[in-house]
């Protein structure tokens, strides 16, 4: 009939208009700052550096191997190696990054740094409220800004973090067994390093057999 389609359409829009006042589940909008949707576990945003224990400087897993810096497609990672060593996550004395910067204005969240890291030291974060008032220095994140605890990692990606922790535990056990064997073979040599490495510094205790380089 003449004009029937228009009337049908008007009825439909009227139904939507009135219905949106009656039933809440018609409105799909999430009123963001007040309410938020739960985050899915696979969500990722920018990388962060994982540290074990309480001291972010001592517990940093990164050994400054430069793999991520070399692999980073947009070249947003800047690393400077330290001159001294400290025990890493599994207890071996390693170099650590004196400077570790990520320019997040350049980072494209590709996760390649995470995939190439052999030490499980860099992981993807989920924080997305990152606006700043300065577009230069505030977007160049330094080591301190990037360092986040293993507990944080467990909170944002529980399954992944559990797998990483299990792998690290076997690695630590292996290193501890090796150190024990070495200590037994050479009882006169220096005492074995602390597997957890949180309380002692490696700088004054050089153990060349445990180092990779």
């Amino acid at each position: 009939m003449f004009g029937e389609g228009i009337l049908k359409g008007l009825a439909e829009t009227a139904r939507n208009f009135l219905g949106s006042y009656v039933s809440k589940n018609r409105l799909t909008t999430v009123q963001y700052p007040e309410e938020r949707l739960p985050q899915i576990e696979a969500y990722r945003n920018f990388p962060f550096l994982v540290y074990d224990g309480d001291d972010w400087q001592q517990g940093l897993r990164c050994v400054s191997c430069f793999i991520c810096e070399k692999e980073c497609p947009p070249k947003c990672i800047i690393i400077e190696k330290s001159t001294d060593k400290k025990p890493d996550a599994v207890g071996k004395p390693q170099f650590y990054p004196k400077v570790f910067n990520i320019d997040v204005s350049v980072c494209m969240s590709c996760q390649i740094c995470v995939e190439v890291c052999p030490f499980d030291a860099i992981k993807m974060d989920t924080d997305y409220e990152l606006s700043t008032t300065n577009r230069f220095s505030a977007l160049l994140w330094d080591k301190h800004r990037l360092a986040k605890s293993n507990e944080h990692y467990h909170k944002i990606h529980p399954t992944e973090a559990a797998a990483v922790d299990a792998a690290l535990a076997t690695e630590r056990a292996k290193v501890a067994a090796k150190a024990k064997a070495a200590a037994e073979a050479k009882p006169a040599a220096a005492p074995a390093t602390n597997p957890n490495g949180a309380s002692t510094t490696a700088a004054d205790k050089p153990v060349p057999t445990a180092s990779e380089k």
């Binding site: 228009i6 939507n16 949106s20 009123q31």
Partner: protein
């Protein structure tokens, strides 16, 4: 004679204006009178524009199951304030090759023309700026200035999209101006006057509780519907918003406008919509007259604005419902349906005048209108079958 409280409430603005003007020396009184009215019109309709933008955005949001603006102020009603500040602080870009003078004049002229039309609209009893005896003629003459402003904007921007948009806008506005004027002619025929005030005065009577609006005649209903369709096209609103056509020609004739000039175009467009709605109210809906005889105690200006808001709501509703027409559909609708229908409506109004009153007159007039409308809409559909399109070169 002492006016009753109801009359006092009805005439409160008129007496206030007289009171204010009477403090001035006699030489300035007539000028001050006009200036006061102009200030009132500018303030009230600019405020109505602000309210309408919020209502429209919230209404469209609800139609699409969204909230719409709800952040600034109570329920988002201060949003136009924020928008105004935003458009004022925005950079005003003018293309280097643009005709600077014309580019600047176009939005000013548009708003000016839109405001001029309010001079002849009676918004209440004794509340009209200029009671011209050719008021409707003045209204349409001023309405054509809008087309000039639109073309100035499109031409001076030196941008092919804005020129295309302006040409489309002009083609559309001129095409729909014809049915717009022809649809209002029936009322002029019935009232025998071009003055908006006397047209409203003719509709203020009541039979029982029912008002004598021109809407309640066959030619009145048809005229009102045709007038509203033409007014929608005339004010470039959806589904006739081709001149803007965000998806095809970005923003049409005002693509090169930014900041406050853009806001002025917006203002002008809405003011044009209010003005044509106001004229529709004046011609068909009894102007400021109450819809029932027992409701006449409510002040007349409130009735005018209630009717205006009702028409605005209908405009918003239509905008939320109908998709945009194609250019050829728009043109064929104007010339193949609107024009013949308005001409038939003029004929019906004449028949109505000469036939004796009664049910037969109603039946004959309604029949003469409905049958051609049906046949014409059939004719428009003829040979237009919907099928999957084949693209010869794209596949």
């Amino acid at each position: 004679m002492i006016p009753t409280p109801v009359q006092q409430a009805d005439q409160i603005f008129v007496t206030l204006q007289h009171r204010l003007v009477s403090y001035l020396p006699a030489a300035f009184q007539s000028v001050a009178d006009v200036i006061l009215s102009v200030i009132a019109i500018v303030l009230v309709f600019a405020l109505l524009f602000a309210v309408t933008t919020v209502l429209e955005r919230k209404g469209l949001g609800r139609i699409q199951n969204r909230y719409g603006p709800n952040r600034v102020g109570p329920a988002g009603f201060f949003q136009p304030l924020a928008d105004g500040v935003k458009s004022l602080t925005k950079e005003d870009l003018v293309p280097r090759t643009a005709d600077q003078m014309v580019h600047f004049m176009a939005p000013v002229l548009l708003v000016l023309a839109a405001f001029l039309a309010y001079a002849v609209l009676p918004v209440g009893r004794n509340m009209v700026l200029a009671n011209l005896n050719a008021g409707i003629l003045f209204f349409f003459a001023v309405g054509t200035l809008v087309e000039l402003a639109v073309f100035m904007a499109g031409w001076s921007s030196r941008n092919k999209y804005s020129l295309l948009g302006a040409m489309r806008a002009i083609a559309q506005m001129i095409s729909y101006e014809v049915p717009l004027v022809l649809a209002s002619i029936v009322v002029i025929m019935a009232a025998g006057s071009l003055s908006t005030v006397s047209i409203v005065d003719m509709q203020t009577g009541y039979s029982g509780i029912w008002p004598h609006w021109f809407l309640f005649t066959p030619w009145g209903i048809a005229g009102f519907i045709l007038f509203m369709i033409a007014a929608t096209a005339e004010s470039n609103r959806s589904p006739f918003d081709l001149p803007e056509g965000e998806s095809e020609i970005i923003a049409g004739y005002y693509i090169e406008y930014s900041g406050f000039k853009f806001a002025l175009f917006f203002l002008g467009e809405y003011l044009g919509m209010f003005a044509t709605s106001g004229l529709a109210i004046t011609l068909f809906l009894g102007g400021w007259a109450a819809p029932f005889s027992f409701l006449t105690w409510i002040p007349s200006y409130l009735w005018f604005f209630a009717k205006l808001l009702l028409l605005i709501v209908i405009f918003i509703w239509i905008r939320g419902t109908l998709p945009r027409l194609r250019m050829d559909q728009l043109m064929s609708f104007a010339w193949q349906f609107m024009l013949p229908m308005t001409l038939i409506n003029v004929f019906v109004a004449g028949v109505w005048h000469f036939m004796p009153a009664g049910v037969i007159r109603w039946g004959v007039c309604a029949l003469v209108l409905v049958v051609p409308a049906f046949l014409l809409s059939r004719g428009l559909k003829q040979g237009k079958k919907f099928a999957a399109r084949t693209y010869r070169f794209a596949e």
